[in-house]
Structures are given as C-alpha cells and as structure tokens.
C-alpha cells in the first residue's frame, strides 16, 4: 500500500480496474485454501470441535446470520410481498388476499410515469456530461506530471468531504442567484457533482494501467495522437471506463436529496417521488414503485459487481 502512496493516480486501483480479474475472487481463494485452521492436523481440528468456545462460535455465527437476515433480507422480502398484497393485517405472516391491482395503479398513474421518464432523462444526460468533462481530465491526471496535480485531485475530493444536505443547501442559494433553481440545468449540476470523483479517479487508474510503451509503438508505426488514443489507449482502458460510466449513471439515477431540494416541483425523479409516495399513496403502491426503482440498480450493479468488490470504489476515498 505504501507503493500506492507515491504514484499518484495509478494506485492499487490500477491493477483492479486494468485487469478486471483481481479483487475479492482472487484473494477469496484464500478462504477455501490456506485458511489458518487447515494448517493444523485433522485430529486437532476434530478435538477442537467439542470445545465450548467452538460451540459458542457456531452459535454466534448462526446468530449473526439470523441478525443479518432480519436486518437486511426480511425488510426487502416484505416489500416484495407488499407489492402483491390486498389485505395484510397484524400479526399474520402473509397477506390474506393477493392482488395485482397495485401494479396497474402505478403503470396508469400520471405522476408516477412522469417520474420514470425524468429519471431516464437525467441519468444518461448526467452520465454523458460527466464523461465529457472528466475523461480528458482523467487522461491528463494519469499521463502527465504537472504542478498542482495533487492539489487538483484533492479539490475533487471535496465532493466527498462535505455533508451532503448541508452542501446542497449552500449550493441552492447560489443556484437561486444564477436563476438555476428548479431548472433542468440546476438538477444536472447537482447530480453531476456526485459523479466527478467516480468519473475521474476510476478512469485515471484505467488509463494509467495502459503501458505508455504501447502508445509509443503506435506512434512509431505512424499513428497520429487521436488514432493512437482511440485505437490503443481507449480500448485497453475501456473496462475501467465502462465501470465508471455505470456507477455515474447509478449515482445520478439514485440521487434523491439534492434533486429533491433543487428540482421540486418541476423535475421529480423516481427516488424523489418516493418521498411523497411514502406519505401520500397506499403502502402497496409504494412497494411496487420501489421494486421498479430497484431493478435498474440491481441489473447495472450486478454487471459491475466484480469491480465494485475489487475495492475500486474505495479508491475514491483513499488519499494519495
């Protein structure tokens, strides 16, 4: 990790993003393989099985699993059941009458479909603008040494260093002054800020992992700088860039707090709609909407799961 400290953009993340093979999968082989207990002889392990501490350990792990289930899985499972429930009263375990009518309510509702539309307009817009703004910067950070580079990367880090709602409140006053409050551009700006770190640091690590010698070879063979970039550098760095694009899309798609402050009432996206759904709509309709909102996150994050596990995300929080 000390090596990562010195090299600027190229850090531990380089290997992760560049190869796409490392990450939890690689190291997790250790879990099955050379775990500490397997180092002992089987006899010792068997004897240990009867020790009170061992039994307590098994009990504790069972408890942990039940706790996690109650804490994480049960609420989500209930939400899914709610989406199909007509009558479900305390304290019965399952709905007494099932229905699909809540799905019809959501799909026919004017407000709700508008929210879906705005979500799918804002997220791609923000993703594209973020890419246009940040990818060249990422390339420069990865390839060039210049005065103030560290300071510049630290400045980007400010987006993570401020408590979000406080920051949005402060921003809102400036957006008022610039006549951007309640406008399309205002919402784009507030969502864009959440993508800057992702869109700069992850692609920068990806660009840095492309050996400069390959670019030089292409230049020697007569390729111009643009041709070199688009035929050599970009394809090699593309896995990291795709991850950053997807994460930026999701950052915008799931952003609720800032959009709530800046966009309401003109631009209500799906997560913002959730705030009012919770108080204004019957529970099951909210559950249906919640499931619809979760699907894109679920699908897109499943696509980049490997990279997320490889602590690429965490790189955005590491000072260099």
């Amino acid at each position: 990790m000390s090596a990562a400290a010195g090299v600027g953009t190229a850090g531990v993340g380089t290997a992760d993003v560049g190869t796409g093979e490392l990450g939890l999968r690689g190291p997790s082989a250790q879990v099955g393989g050379a775990g500490p207990a397997t180092a002992h002889e089987p006899g010792v392990a068997a004897r240990r099985h009867w020790r009170p501490s061992r039994v307590a350990g098994t009990g504790a792990s069972g408890l942990l699993l039940v706790g996690l289930g109650l804490f994480i899985l049960a609420p989500l499972g209930m939400l899914v059941l709610w989406a199909f429930a007509d009558y479900w009263f305390f304290p019965s375990a399952f709905p007494s009458v099932w229905t699909l009518s809540w799905w019809k309510t959501v799909f026919s509702g004017g407000d709700l479909s508008t929210a879906v539309m705005w979500s799918f307009i804002f997220a791609p817009t923000v993703m594209v603008i973020s890419a246009v703004v940040c990818l060249p910067a990422a390339y420069v950070f990865a390839r060039r040494e210049f005065l103030g580079k560290r300071a510049m990367m630290m400045t980007l880090f400010a987006t993570n260093a401020f408590p979000k709602m406080g920051l949005y409140i402060a921003m809102a006053s400036v957006l008022y002054a610039l006549n951007l409050m309640g406008t399309f551009m205002g919402v784009v700006i507030i969502q864009l800020l959440n993508t800057l770190v992702i869109m700069t640091w992850i692609p920068a690590a990806a660009f840095a992992s492309v050996p400069p010698s390959l670019e030089e070879a292409a230049r020697d063979a007569g390729a111009g700088p643009w041709r070199t970039f688009f035929r050599v550098t970009f394809p090699l760095a593309s896995p990291g860039i795709v991850v950053a694009l997807i994460l930026a899309f999701l950052a915008s798609f799931d952003e609720a707090q800032g959009t709530f402050l800046v966009g309401v009432p003109n631009y209500v996206t799906m997560p913002v709609q959730m705030y009012s759904l919770v108080s204004d709509y019957p529970g099951p309709a909210t559950a249906v909407f919640a499931i619809l909102l979760t699907i894109p996150s679920l699908v897109l994050l499943a696509l980049v799961r490997k990279h997320v596990f490889s602590s690429t995300l965490a790189e955005g929080y590491r000072l260099r």
């Binding site: 500490p36 207990a37 400045t155 400010a158 260093a161 799931d254 979760t294 000072l319």
Partner: protein, 294 residues
C-alpha cells in the same frame, strides 16, 4: 492533450462547492450582499450585519431549544451509528476472511445486498418492516415479547438504518484489507500461544487501521449530511440537522438558519477530514518506515 483539461472538473468543484460554502459562511455571519442577495430577499427572520460580521444567527440557533436538541440528536446518532458500524463490519469482515463453508459464503452474499438497493428504498423497506404495526412487531408478538420494542420512527431506528445502508461499503473495504493480512503472520501469532481475540486485536486490526479510519470519517460525514434516512425513518422531533435544515430552507422560509446548520455540520466534517488527513499521513509514514527498515 493539454494539461488544462484536467482543470475542468476542478473548476466545476470550485464554482459549485467552494463558492457556495464560502457564501454560506458569509451569509450566516450576516453578509447579505453579492450572490447572497437573491436568497436574502425572500428570507424571513434573518440577522443582517450593518458593518463587519455578526454571530446573531448562531446565537438564535443556540437559543432555540428545538434546534439544540436537533444538534444533540445529530451528534449522538453520528457517534453511535459510526461506532456500531465499525464493530459490526469488523465482525463481518473477519467472517468473510476466515470462515470456510456455507455460513461464510452466505454471510458474504447477504452483506452486499444493501449496496444494490437505492437508499430511499432500503430505508422505506426497513421502516415498513419495523414500524409499530409492521412485521417485526408481529414476530416479537409471536415470540411473546412486547411488540413496542420495534425501532420504527425512533432515533435508534435511524441508527440501525444508517448501519444497514453503510455495511457494504465498510465490509468491502475492511475485507479487502484483511485479505491482505498474510496467514503467515496469524499462524506465527497462534504458534506462540495467542488466542483468537488476541490475534484479531493485536495483529489483524492494527493492519487494518487505514480502512477503519476511512470508514469512520466517511460514514460520520455521510451521517451528518444525511436527509433520506432520518426523514423516512426518524421521529418528527427531534430531527437530525439534515432534515431540520431542509425544512428551514424549503418550508419555513428561513434559509439563513438552515445555512447556520449547514456551516455547523461543515465544521464537524472539517474536523473529521483533518483527523483523516493526519491519520492517513501518519499511517503512510509508519508503513514506509517499516518497509524501509526491511
């Protein structure tokens, strides 16, 4: 490519983060001119400095009993949820790192689930599950326990919600760093007679200092500025500052008071960031000193 393009995202950050923060500080000190003029024109109950600065807006904050209790609840929710998150994520990461077989795999599948769920949905699902007439109350009832134990719409529920939504980030960070702790070190400690708790405390955790510092800093900052979770899961009063400042800004027409709260959480975050920079510098020095000694 010109170095200048690197400046574009930085410029956006300066214009839309640096400038607003500076203006917010000035506004709370009674400066209503310049870019603050627009918001100051619609504001009610604001303190204006005739010349120099005034701390009047901050005095109003401290004089308000409601806001004092909002500040206090923000403080303890942040401390308790961060501490609980670190404790729980250490346990989970140890599990992911060392347990073999089905339970370990199951745990490492379950803990990442909240990452795939937008925060709004997760907090709604949680609060539906454990509100007074929710299913958790039903489970408690079936077990013969008082169903009033459920944490729905309480500040303790907010703590649990924060822990739940932050678990993936924390455990991923910790687990990846625990995978870096070599088995050789652990076996060496075991061979000289160290118990498992001792190994965790004296070998594994010291090697995971940096990720723990990262988790503490960023969950605490995230909690200070959180709106979604306390808004959907918390009580109507006392509110966490993230909710209170939104209400003062949007509903009560008191942007200056809202910005006072914003500046207060900025100051707390500044202290946390300072701690983080100091801790990661000293950690880096320590690591490089060690690798230099080899």
């Amino acid at each position: 490519m010109p170095v200048g393009v690197g400046f574009v995202p930085v410029l956006i950050t300066i214009v839309f983060i640096g400038l607003p923060v500076a203006l917010a500080v000035l506004y709370t000190l009674g400066k209503t001119g310049g870019l603050n003029e627009t918001i100051a024109r619609v504001a009610q109950h604001q303190v204006v400095a005739k010349h120099g600065f005034t701390l009047g807006a901050y005095r109003n904050f401290i004089d308000s009993k409601e806001l004092r209790s909002d500040l206090w609840v923000t403080f303890w929710v942040t401390v308790v949820s961060t501490a609980a998150l670190v404790a729980l994520s250490v346990v989970l990461a140890l599990f992911v790192r060392f347990s073999k077989g089905r339970v370990g795999r199951l745990v490492s599948t379950v803990y990442v689930v909240p990452m795939f769920i937008p925060t709004v949905i997760a907090s709604y699902a949680l609060v539906t599950f454990w509100q007074q007439n929710g299913k958790l109350a039903g489970i408690l009832h079936a077990l013969g326990l008082p169903s009033s134990w459920v944490p729905g719409f309480t500040s303790m529920g907010v703590v649990l919600g924060l822990v739940c939504t932050n678990i993936p980030f924390a455990v991923i960070l910790l687990a990846s760093s625990m995978h870096g702790v070599s088995d050789v070190l652990i076996e060496a400690a075991r061979d000289v007679g160290a118990s498992w708790p001792r190994v965790v405390w004296s070998v594994i955790l010291p090697l995971c200092r940096l990720p723990i510092i990262i988790i503490v800093t960023f969950t605490a900052i995230g909690t200070l500025g959180n709106f979604t979770i306390p808004d959907l899961m918390g009580p109507n009063a006392p509110q966490m500052l993230g909710v209170a400042m939104t209400d003062y800004y949007q509903s009560y027409g008191q942007p200056q008071q809202a910005e006072v709260m914003a500046v207060l959480v900025f100051l707390a975050a500044l202290a946390l960031s300072g701690f983080y920079v100091w801790a990661s510098r000293s950690e880096r020095r320590r690591v490089s000193a060690q690798s230099g000694a080899k």
